[in-house]
Symmetry: C2
Subunit: 345 residues, 2 copies
């Protein structure tokens, strides 16, 4: 019932205590010292239960929780992911990402230096992506009731697409563009978790993909549907869009970029790179006549500079995705039936 | 790497498995069988990464995570709380609650019947509060890495207040109205957790408070600030508003309704009812000339039928809250310094 039963330092480190979640003085101190300075903006300064924003017309609204383990891994961390993941979901709706909320569930005993690193990483990712974290929440659960910390972000953004951007818009003959090589995020997280001794470090591709998406929309490309290739990878993205669109899809495996080191680890572990999670990759389904212009636009942006066309949607059994292999054979691509890599995002 | 290492039934009960969080077939099956039917609406039917909404002008945006333990307690449960809590935060911004997101973190092994009960309770609370759950996310963590389930909701709503409703608007002389008796939620949760054998069951006050708040705004009451009295209770609400407003506050303890049974448990446990969490109570700070009309409006609504005036803001040390006792003495009311009742919300 006081600070006393909650050790505030463990092995000389300041840690999160149950009191930090109590809504009293310790909570206020943590918010004032750590969160508000990092996410510095006028909405948080008002110290209210929510943020008041000016929106006009159609907006996108999305949410994701982040439970990735470990918290830090080559190329990224849970904080940057929690920003980029939700920013990317907004972009996938054809929206300009604008405002995020952030809800933290902290485990008692989490070192405050770890929390600070995560928050600084979120703040930096938000600056890079041009979004503001305008409202938030903090809860603390007892030791053993979380895994360091979990983060939920929700986001809102202004729709900039003139036409709806969603699976239902995809038509037979539309082409599938892929923004770059796949599989790096999943393998980076798994290698960090399992302490795999890789020759070269494989870094997560975690990044905001809003900028090339907004460019496609601003340039009037007929974008039917956008899908980021997170949990379930490219395979799940293709199958889900095909199912909702009531179409089949056909892709050329040789056209799908997979880095050699990623491919080697996948082979070693019996993983299909099409199922591995990404955090900075997306597919854009566009009208056939816009393919060249769309690829040119994508290739102007760092995060999609290696964009390629990989296939098309066509009449056929709804949700059936066929991959043509290098040597001319074909195989059916399905979504994962179970869990490939748990807690990848 | 498959369903095999995840038992799908424990003691004959279907349970949550890691595969449910994999983004593949098991995830799709759970969403289709449980979540989409319960939250049934056109946004979720589109099966996209986010929802596209029509908003005009100013909107409120807020979030909260819910980690209450136990999941079910007299009068409410984590699902209803996750809806009402965020609905209430929107109302506290002077907004009409409209759309919610829902992010679930499930512990492997959670019985699916428990999950279904929570989801049905959320769906029912959303219907009652007139909001739609339009987008969501589902993660599964290993056994021992959560406590059954955690829920995050974020919400957006249309601002209906003509003037800003926030602590900075409070002026000297403004009056504090309280919407009803305090302390029931905190005591109900604690009694359930500690299996206290109370003579009468004390039920949580968990409820949506949007309806009386919207009525105050629609009727043109000069509402300066609204605050729901959750973590930290009435004391934290008063101190925080006073601090931000740069004013002192003075309240009459005799005017604050506390049920006799709640008061008895508080006394037994050495708790101050002013610090105990509520989930269906708020304070409204209004201009002095509007007090009578505001009370009449509040008393027309079931959830605030016992509304009373309890004090005022005035010049003085910023953040200093003084309570006058029944016998004429005074005491300083401060926010909690530590943790009174962990995981109350």
């Amino acid at each position: 019932m006081s600070d006393i039963h909650c050790p505030v330092t463990v092995d000389g480190q300041d840690v999160v205590t149950m009191a930090h979640g109590g809504g009293g003085r310790a909570t206020a101190r943590l918010l004032d010292s750590l969160f508000r300075p990092a996410f510095d903006n006028p909405w948080l300064e008002r110290q209210h239960d929510g943020a008041v924003l000016d929106m006009a017309g159609a907006m996108a609204f999305t949410t994701d929780s982040y439970v990735v383990r470990p918290l830090f891994f080559p190329g990224s961390d849970i904080g940057a992911m929690a920003v980029h993941g939700t920013v990317n979901d907004l972009a996938m709706c054809g929206a300009e990402p604008q405002y995020l909320s952030a809800g933290f569930i902290l485990e008692e005993g989490l070192p405050l230096t770890t929390l600070r690193q995560v928050i600084d990483s979120m703040a930096s990712a938000a600056r890079k992506a041009g979004v503001r974290i305008v409202t938030g929440d903090l809860k603390v659960v007892e030791r053993g009731k979380a895994d360091g910390l979990y983060i939920n972000t929700a986001g809102v953004g202004r729709i900039v697409a003139a036409d709806p951007v969603e699976p239902g818009q995809v038509r037979s003959g539309d082409r599938v563009l892929l923004s770059g090589d796949i599989g790096r995020h999943g393998i980076a997280v798994m290698a960090a978790r399992e302490k795999l001794d890789l020759e070269s470090a494989i870094e997560s591709d975690c990044a905001s993909i809003a900028s090339p998406v907004l460019a496609l929309l601003h340039e009037g490309i007929a974008v039917r549907c956008l899908r980021d290739l997170t949990r379930g990878g490219l395979a799940s993205g293709l199958v889900e869009v095909a199912e909702t669109a009531g179409l089949a899809a056909r892709i050329q495996e040789a056209d799908i970029p997979v880095r050699e080191d990623v491919s080697a680890v996948c082979e070693l572990l019996g993983l299909d790179p099409l199922h591995v999670a990404n955090e900075g990759r997306f597919m854009a389904v566009v009208a056939p006549e816009d393919v060249d212009r769309a690829l040119a636009i994508l290739r102007c942006h760092r995060v999609s500079k290696a964009a390629v066309e990989i296939g098309r949607f066509q009449e056929g059994r709804a949700g059936q995705v066929t991959a043509e292999s290098l040597i001319g054979g074909t195989r059916i691509v399905d979504r994962l039936s179970g869990e490939q890599l748990p807690r990848i995002c």
